[in-house]
Each structure stands twice: as structure tokens, then as C-alpha cells.
Symmetry: C2
Amino acid sequence: MANEKIPYKIYLTEDEMPKAWYNVRADMKVKPAPLRNPANGEPMGFDDLTPVFCDELVKQELDNDTAYFPIPDDIRNFYKMYRPSPLVRAYCLEEKLQTPAKIYYKFEGNNTSGSHKLNSAIAQAYYAKNQGLKGVTTETGAGQWGTALSMACGYLGLDCKVFMVKCSYEQKPFRREVMRTYGASVTPSPSETTAVGRKILEQFPGTTGSLGCAISEAVEVATSTPGYRYVLGSVLNQVLLHQSVIGLETKIAMDKYGIVPDVIIGCAGGGSNLGGLISPFMGEKLRGERDYQIIAVEPKSCPSFTRGTYAYDFCDTGMVCPLAKMYTLGSSFIPSADHAGGLRFHGMSSTLSQLYHDGYMEAVAVEQTKVFAAAEEFARVEGILPAPESSHAIRVAIDEALKCKETGEEKTILFGLTGTGYFDLVAYEKFHNGEMIDYIPSDEEIAAGIARLPNIPGIND
Amino acid sequence: MANEKIPYKIYLTEDEMPKAWYNVRADMKVKPAPLRNPANGEPMGFDDLTPVFCDELVKQELDNDTAYFPIPDDIRNFYKMYRPSPLVRAYCLEEKLQTPAKIYYKFEGNNTSGSHKLNSAIAQAYYAKNQGLKGVTTETGAGQWGTALSMACGYLGLDCKVFMVKCSYEQKPFRREVMRTYGASVTPSPSETTAVGRKILEQFPGTTGSLGCAISEAVEVATSTPGYRYVLGSVLNQVLLHQSVIGLETKIAMDKYGIVPDVIIGCAGGGSNLGGLISPFMGEKLRGERDYQIIAVEPKSCPSFTRGTYAYDFCDTGMVCPLAKMYTLGSSFIPSADHAGGLRFHGMSSTLSQLYHDGYMEAVAVEQTKVFAAAEEFARVEGILPAPESSHAIRVAIDEALKCKETGEEKTILFGLTGTGYFDLVAYEKFHNGEMIDYIPSDEEIAAGIARLPNIPGIND
């Protein structure tokens, strides 16, 4: 062990926990591009967004200048139920790899949602409650976000309507039951309960649904039911703001022990975990105080950073949401049935896209089988069964540590372990049985997705 | 909040973690009765037990005098990966119940086995490795113990052969895949790989197996394969010794903040969790230093303490194991298909049975539907989705807190939250759908089980 004084797990005391979220946009010289109205291409302001989202969240969404937003006491108290999350020194993994590198991970899986999603779910539910709303609507695919939101709403006594992609609803009954335990209503999408759902069912009888369709249903219910708003678990600026609690806790814990990471690694789907983990470190980098190597890891099956283009696009396949400027494969791009459901998003957070575009971070894409091999290696020595999403970061952390073994460098590597894989064992089984396939889209498929980007004069031309 | 200074979660530092296990038998005036050979009724000694169990574990099993066993460094390092477990102040549950009681729980579910089982699994695997063995065998029903043992063996590079009851193997493929991730071989029982398995399959073609049969297969493989021993996750004295880490951590955390529990509550199947949680408190009670109300909670469907008899009996339905003196419903008693698989054992730890017999603890039995109602109430305010087993303790903790509301007493209640319910969602679904049944055995059924106890002259007469 390189440093005997550093414990296996660093926990903060409640007094040391962050009292404000950090908004990385405040330190960006080039701000992320605004959301735009798909009808006329105009930037969307407060009044355009409040019919869909809670007022306070819209303010957070639009604010590129305020660096710190105080975390309300009620949210801090909820955080205390499952936070601080541990910053773990991966002594056992280092030993296994025989690397001179020092590896740390911030583990966000020790709560019933099994992931970091709860950090933003409780914030969004709180602001809805505070606005005097009756409830919120959302969509869920794999189910982590739906579970987190159900937990937050259950705690606050807020109604929660989840539209769950029908094939997931049927294939993942356990996820559905967890949400019901917390009092949420879970509707398989497309459903007969909305106009858009009925229309889709008429056009495509027997369809098993899609995330795009579930979003459309959730938005319809939110905007047509008095006292309801729609909430979302990733991509948006507000979500990255709430998730900054991950990076802030990490930074406080590291500072306490004088640890400075050389490399920071996170998996990237819509960007909620990566954006949260890196935010205070990125802040230092943007302000020129310190340099870090920051690596986003995405699946080769859905490589928005590494093979996408930087342009305005729809966030949803149903094309009902505002346009966002981001690295995208095109909203019509259908990723293969890759098992890391949380990383199967065609686009990427606007904030992270701008930072990547400006050279503040790197990105790598990895094959699924190599991700599961890393997951298994990690589980055996570190105990935790990781989610496939999180395992993308593990893969690259191991690769970096093995490079250090070659060069003899004693780099300090930090990665985000966003969640646990208890609900992903079908994928693990495929891996064990040698039935897992590495799907990599062809150049033609990538080009076709990008060719169908919305064509808005003066914006995407 | 009654005391502002007590945090939501109390974590010990690594320096504060226990350095030795506590053996409650050392403080018992009346020692638990010895294991006896079913062939001749003689007490079993070191040489009788070492063909089946590891040498060091047999020593621990037989030692009624040594109060503290130092925890080997390698085990303490493994403990540091997932321990200390948090002692949680249930502020949100207290608020919900509007009770003057102060409620604490020790949460053992923050590891991939999802339960406290890992505390003994790593100890048993360590001693096997230290003895130069190649591997261990065991049986598993619901899968928590098999998962914990797989994790421990995966970490130490020890072979692990798990016999999993065939119906669980088929119905719980996820549990099986977790074990495979950690490198264990999992065989559905009964199997063609053992003589006893083949015999059972010949007699009962198409049988879906039983725990008794799986034990018989695991013991056969351990005793007939050079370099292997059999290990067990509950009931035995050695297991309670290792699980004392739960109670010791709890006691250290409580002492640190000057908290003294009035009531201590744990669920009881074979006794591993309850015995571990209460041990240091029971030690004080046995030594006359302090009094505590200690309550064991069992399901009404399998009420060994409250409706069983105190006698020598087989620990397994296959009747291949030594006889233990315990509260038992008879090894032929078949509990209903109650969902709390971990509490479906016909007997009880000999140590706890003696303590109960001597009046040092109480026992209550609760109905399943009331247990799930408590589980759901708890989940919504405290966030954690509890295992059905653990929820038995939650039920009684809530009942005690509601009594305090009636009387105005400000009692301090401590209970053990042994694990999470991620793999028990079929049961939650039944509960949500109103399809859960409260099965309570008739007096005739209880009498029939007890009537078939082994009849050994001079012992059970």
C-alpha cells in the first residue's frame, strides 16, 4: 500500500457534506448553447419552459452565471439518509493489477435506486412539492431513474406517474414492483391513457414501445393535467447541477487527505454522472488553477462523442422536446440492444458537449465484452457487483492503471462507480455463456443518423 | 429530533472497528448443549468434526470459555471493503410514526451479497485457505449465503461449489449468475454428481429438491474430495462468533454517542443475525452489568421459539448432520412457502435456544402480511428496500415505537436490518396484488413435527 494513512473508504461527516451545488457553467468562457424551440429556432426562455418544468428548475436550467446554488435543508436531510457516498481506495484492485497507480472510486450505488439518480430525483421532487404541485410524470427505460423518482416522491408524499417502455415493463417486473413499493403508478408505454399513446397503438398495434414514445406520453400528461410537471433524469443542465454533489463530496474527501487525481474517468450516456463527478475539478481547470486529464467513456455501440457531430438536435426520438446543441448521432439513430441501457442515448449534455468541443476533456469508446470482463475482474476483488454503465469507467480505469504498470508512473486515478448491477444479471448471464456480441455501427449507419438532423436555417447549416 | 447531535448515520473509523470477535458462550453460566453423534448420542469432539469442518472453525465451535478471538488481519482488511456498516438513526420513521421513541438500526445490506452473511463467509473461507485447502462446499436456498460465500472465495482464490435447491436455481437465475460472476460453480440439487443426489433422483424423478438434500450433497462432496470442507451460514456457534462483529460495531458506535438501547430486536431464522447483533449486549446482561429487553422475531409460519420444543434434533431434513439441542419444530416440519426464505428453518441456534430457555430473551411471532406492510412503510420514509427477513424486525420495532406513542415513553429501540430485498420482488408483487396469504400451522401440525423428534435414550426422553 502506497500510503498507509488513507483508509479503504473515506466518509465525510455530516458537517463536511456540501451545502451548495456547483454550477460549472459559471466558470465556462464559452457557455453551452441554449435550448431552442423546434418550431421557430428561437432560444427558449423562462415562460417557454415553465409549462413543462417546475419554475425553480427552469431558473436553474437557464442560469449560466451563478456558481453556487444553496441546497435546501429538506434536500440535505434526505441526502443524509444515503449520503455521503464512500470514496473508496481500490487497494485490492491495485494489488490484483500489480500497478503502481493509486485507484479511487466514488461509489454511488448504496441506495435502493442502485445509482446516482436519486441525487437529482429528490431535488426535482422537492421543487415540485414546494411549488404546490400534486405530482410529476416521467419516463423510464431500464428503471433506475423511475425507481429514484418514486423513492423521492414516496418520501415527500408527491404523486408519481411513470411511463415505462412496454418491453422493459414486461421484462423487468422487479423494477416495476420496486416503484410500486414506493407508491408510484407505473404504466406500460405506449398506453391507452394518452392521445399520443392511442395514436401510436393505432399505427403500430402490438408495439413494445420506445423511450421516445414514453417521453411523449409523460409530457402530454404533465402538460394536460393541472398540478403536474414533467421531470427528467439526465442531459439537462439542472440535472448536472444536482449531480455536482458527487464531485463536491469527492473533492472534499480528497482535499482532506491531500490526494490530487491525475486522471478522472466517468461513463457517459446523457452526462448526469460524468458531469456531476468532474464538475469541481473542471471548475479548477477552467479557472486555470490546476490541470486534470478527464476522460468520458461511452459504448462503441452508441458513440456520440467519438463518432457523432456537434449540432442542434432533438433530445428525444419522438421529437416533442426542445432542440439542444450537443454531440449527437441523430435522434433517429437506434442503438443496438446493448445491455448498458443507461448509455443508449443518441446525444449528450450540452454542457459536456461544449467542454469536449473546447478541448477540456477527452472521450474513448469501448466494446461491451471488454466492459463485462472488467466488471467481473473488479467484482471479484472489490466485492461490489457493478452496473454495466459504471463498468465502462472501470474498463478505462483498469487500462490506465495497466499503462502505469508498463511505464512505472504512480498516477492517481479517480473514477465514478455510478451504481450496482443487481437488475442487469441477464446481461451478466450472456457474458458468462459467451453469448454477448460487440455491436459497432458502420460508417453508413452513423452517416445516415447524422444526415437526418433537423434542418433549421441559421442554426444547423 | 430528540438529540440534534446524533447524525443520521454513525460510521466508525477503521481504527475503531472491532479487532476481536466476542464469544457470548464465555459469559453464559449454563453453556449451550454440545452437538451429539446421531449414531450413539455421544458429544462430538474435535476429531469427530474435522473431517467435515475446517480445524480452526471446529476449535471455535467447541470453545465455550474464550471470550475474545482476535480477527486475523486478512479478514479485517476484507471487512474494511464493506464495513463498518452504518448505525442509522431512523429520524424519518420516527417522524412518520409521531413517536417519542428513538429508533436505531444497524444496516448490513450495503454489500453485494445483500446481507450480513458475508461476515462469516469471509471468516470460514479464510480458515479454509489457511489450512491449505483447495475449496469449500455449501448449500444455498434463497441464495444470500451462497452469494456471500462465492464473494469470499472469489477474493481468496478458493474453489467454491454451491449446491442450490433446484427450484431456486430455476426460479432465481439472477442469484445463480451473481455466484458465477464471483467464480463459483453452482449445481442444481439434487444432481447426478453425487451418490445421494442420484439416489434421490431415482426415488423421486423430477423432484425440485430441498435444502436437506442440498446439504447432503454438499457434505458428501466435502468429505469425499481431498482438500475440501463443508461450510454453513447459520445455526452453528462459529457463525454467531463471526457475526458478533455486527453487535460489537453497534455497541462501539452507541457508546461513542452515549446511547443506551432499552429494547433490542432481531429477526431469527437459524440465529446468525440475531446472535451477532445482541452478543455484546447479552454479555453485559449475563454479567449483571446492565439490563436490556431483547426480542427475537420469527414468522408465524415457522415459529420455533414460540411454539417449538427444547430438545435434541437434526439440523437438516436429510438427517446427515449432528444432533443439536435447540428449540425445534422437528426436522420433518415443512414450513409453508413463506417468502422469508431465510427464516424457514425448523430449529434455532443452540446458544440462542439456551439463552431463551434461561429467560434472557423474549420471542414473538408475526404474520407475513403485517411484515410486508411494515417493510413498505419503512421503505417509503427510510429509502432502503428491506429484505422480508429483516422486515420481521421492522414490524416489531414499529409496534414497540407505537406503544411508546401510547404511553409517552421515550424508549431507545435498536433493531437489526440484515439485508435488502432486491431479489424478493416476487413476494413484494404478491403483497401489492393482495395475493399474499398468512399461513399459520395448526396445533396438530406442530404436534406431529415434534412427535417425530429423534428418540435417543438418556437424551430426548
